[in-house]
Amino acid sequence: MISIQNVHKSFGQLEVLKGIDLTIERGEVVTMIGPSGSGKSTLLQCINGLETINSGEIHVDGTSVFAPDTDLNKLRQKLGIVFQSYNAFPHMTVQRNVTLALRKVLRLPRAEADEIARRQLDRVGLLAKADVYPGALSGGQQQRLGIARALAMSPNYMLFDEVTSALDPQLVGEVLATMRDLSSEGMTMIAVTHEMKFAREVADRVVFFDKGVIAESGNPEEVFLSPKSPRLKEFLSHSQF
């Protein structure tokens, strides 16, 4: 379970998160929608401690992310995260991208790491590309590599931050399909997305972010078909789904 309690976060004068409360149960799929700059990416990065918070609490499986005695490197192994930008390590083959953390962080023997990597690459449809460098991959393939790399660590949670928004339209589908597969396998997921159709179909719960607060949340039908707040109505009127 990820529990976020009354989280406030500022960058200098700018308050980006203004009291966020959110709980994600194991097995749940939560999609996050909301206008640009509303703090979605910031919240995801706070969950795995890449950003600090000013006040409040975040717990992952009972461990406080910001307690001084928390081993963040250990905690991050439970949280897979994939970003909007392609983040493959360009100097390593596709397979080594996946095995690096298995070998260096989890300290698995080479054979075992290779086997896990090949299994995950197969799962996202990249096994044939195992020995090429990421530069030779399309954007969609790079994002699937990012997903495979995160999954290889056997995380309890997967966080996705607009992983399709830098992609050419014809490549979006393959990445969303991979995420759908994951959700149907029971992975706990938080996905920030601008793909409203996807947000609606895959989610158990949809969270609407606006100006640093969760302005509305609920099951997909409630949020998409009978939005209550004017801001959400307005936001949805600008998106197709």
Binding site: L50, R76, Q77, L79, S85, G146, A150
Partner: protein
Amino acid sequence: MNDMFSTGITPRDYWMMAYGAWKTIQMTLAAGLLATLLGIVLGLLKMSRFAVVRLAVDTLVDVLRCIPLLVQVTLIFSGFAVLGAPISAFTAGTIALTLFAGSYTAEVVRDAILAVPAPLRRAARSLGMTARQEYAYVVLPLGVRQAFPSWLGLMLGIVKDTSVVAVIGYAELLKATQTIITRTQDPLPLLTLAACFYFVICFPLSMVGGYFERSLKKRS
């Protein structure tokens, strides 16, 4: 050949120049290695969390880059002598070249590290890597690729800059050449020969460098 003999260059002179070239290579190797190490340390300190450290290093680097190498070499050589702890021309020259090239290397190192995209570094940390692992497996390898061409340029610069150390009597290639010229009074053939020696030292370096650079590119 006849023409050469008429200029009064003896076989012994060739040996003297070859020996000078060897001394040039020695100083290049020593200063190149030390300048690289110094550059890495200064480059990292340039990105220190502490403003005082950054300011101190920036000032040092600016000072070193503003004073002509000739002045630095002479100052270091005579400075130690005046202080009553004279050092050899080789040591003085190596120190001066190390400081001089090291200050440029520091810039190269810093720029290379800053060129590693922040999202890649965040990705490394989000996989559970420690800051040290992030540096070892992501920042360093990518930084080296970035820095390599400029670094190689600095090393080739050291080969040529060793000639400055002639002023304090270090008998490297140029000094050896000048000594012979004083006798023969005919600078043109000897300087041409010296130029060839410099080329022979530099060319393999830039060949190997070019090859290395291409093979790095192929793998990314």
